[in-house]
Symmetry: C2
Amino acid sequence: MKTKKKKLNMVIAQSGGPSMVINQSLVGAVMTARKSYQVGEILGACHGIDGILSETFIDLRKVSVKSLELVAETPSSALGSVRRKPTEEDCLKIFDVLLRRDIGYFFYIGGNDTAETVHIVNTVAKKNKVNIKCFHIPKTIDNDLRQNDHTPGFGSAARFVALAFMGDNLDNLALGGVKINIIMGRHAGFLTAASALARQRPDDGPHLIYLPERPFSMDRFADDVKGMMEKHGRCVVAVSEGICNESGTSIAAQISDGEKDAHGNVQLSGTGALGDLLSRELKARLNIKRVRADTFGYLQRSFPTVASRTDAEEAFSAGEAAVVHAVSGEVGSSSIAIVRRESKKYAVDYTCVPLRSVAKDTRHMPAAYINKAGNDVTAAFIRYVTPLVGDLPVMGRLM
Amino acid sequence: MKTKKKKLNMVIAQSGGPSMVINQSLVGAVMTARKSYQVGEILGACHGIDGILSETFIDLRKVSVKSLELVAETPSSALGSVRRKPTEEDCLKIFDVLLRRDIGYFFYIGGNDTAETVHIVNTVAKKNKVNIKCFHIPKTIDNDLRQNDHTPGFGSAARFVALAFMGDNLDNLALGGVKINIIMGRHAGFLTAASALARQRPDDGPHLIYLPERPFSMDRFADDVKGMMEKHGRCVVAVSEGICNESGTSIAAQISDGEKDAHGNVQLSGTGALGDLLSRELKARLNIKRVRADTFGYLQRSFPTVASRTDAEEAFSAGEAAVVHAVSGEVGSSSIAIVRRESKKYAVDYTCVPLRSVAKDTRHMPAAYINKAGNDVTAAFIRYVTPLVGDLPVMGRLM
């Protein structure tokens, strides 16, 4: 006869940059926990670990299913976010709160820095013999988490980028010249690469794609654009905010004011400086009259109504899987990873991997996804990314 | 007994900045012309009057209805665009082409500069006794055409701006600090003002809105932001690219490289310089750590899938009305203007107004739409703009 396990309370929080579907993971976890007889209170900590430290909680058992469903479809982080790397002292304070409130489960949704935080909390907990299960639920539009085929949030941001390029390519077709679009992605070029999905006809842009995985040279860039202007009479360019020169120095960081977050990341987004720099260089070198640059900025992670259905469903499932695994008692503290099946039809599994294997370091675009010249993607990348983004509308053309 | 009028050929073209629904006007005109017994050939000139001068035409009778319907739903200008102010010599060359091809109708879709072009062509035609009916079909996301209650293209761009602010407001709620968004609109603040539609709860941003209709002072701006930071602990700001100082000088133009188009307009879009300037000023003056700026750029006029249905239908009807009026024989060369009915339920009429009454000069936000402090809109503006944008999704919130 099975003995009934003691109910334990849980806390869940969100951290790092928001996404269009991070609330799907939150709601997936909460809905699952609400159905589990092993979970007592379900507390949402506001603004990540700051909310645990200040004991600013929302009782997520009291929120109606209708409200939760609405939150799931809403972009950004409904519990608020934070960029804070906990010290050992922070961890001890966190345990104080958790133990006092009989919390046995800690779920934290975010990217590699968030996984690092969960790993730190878990390590300090073990060292201090605090019995708490810590789960990291993946999220990042950058798609740069190790162990994951792809991450919740990426498919929707990629869909935004693809749609934006579909419209912008036609805008450029109408008025000509060079158009540069700067896309998010600190170390990994996946999101910038997704711009290639905008191509529906042979002359469609983006005509050039620059990723952080390949050194960026202003000379080669100008030559590439010149070539495309000769070929198409116009040129649409996708550039990652994270592009670096031969010695690995970020082009954007060279011209930024050097602001850094708690994890040591230099501010790249929320400024148009990189696009403007590239515009000026092209105007000066190539004598092209019309050069424009847009920086997609925060819209690509927070714009409502364009989320990929696949991405939304997977984000929900990742949250669900974390709670199922945590209460199962079969695994210890872990990170949920999305693994693609080897099947012909697209399908994924949600597995548990060690926290340290996801924390801190990021993954990059595999070489097989980048063309030889380092200014475009390959057909292998298109095969990889297509199911994550969903069907895209067909653009009508007369010319 | 009615005598059958001679069939005349028609040419149609697009000019100025593209929009999400300018192709609706094109297709509205073409579908109507295809059903008219008075219209012979239907030629689409590529890249506006450049296409007439170079005789680069597309036979729009030969395009399938299915293709035309797809084009109608596609953003940007399917015939290509141009920014060219014709000289008298250009006009004479244009007449040469038109007369040789038996063209009796010229339709040109665009904003105030486009209307000016139509007015010039029409004036030179009259002077030279060339018998051609010239019609201007309105389009501008800036919503700044005189004689019009609003213009095709505005409702969809306004919808994009409202959606962007809905997501971005929640992004700012999650991570805090100040977020500045720069919005298109050279002389008129309508599009920037539409950001106010993003507000669903009392604390929702945009918390401040700066329009070109009111002088912009960096001191007052910093004070306003400081006040909102004290009130909400965060601040989302909507700023028009066209803001000017007390003496009427554009803030963006002061820091741009002074590039101008054929109509004398300084380049404001396609650069993040204004947002970056405002960010730097706030950081320096207020000691706020997190200040970010995004410039929405060309996405707000070309992003697929977000067009307002009302806007799309009205754009189609404006194109339809131009052809109906042109072939009716009851009016001379004109511009189509959208007039709102005084009815309780939202409805509009499409009337003919003199070309010169729409050309060149633009209209601005009425004083009744701007608050006393000059940093927000009024309830009257919200009543005005709501039916143009259509229903917006409800954002779910936990905090």
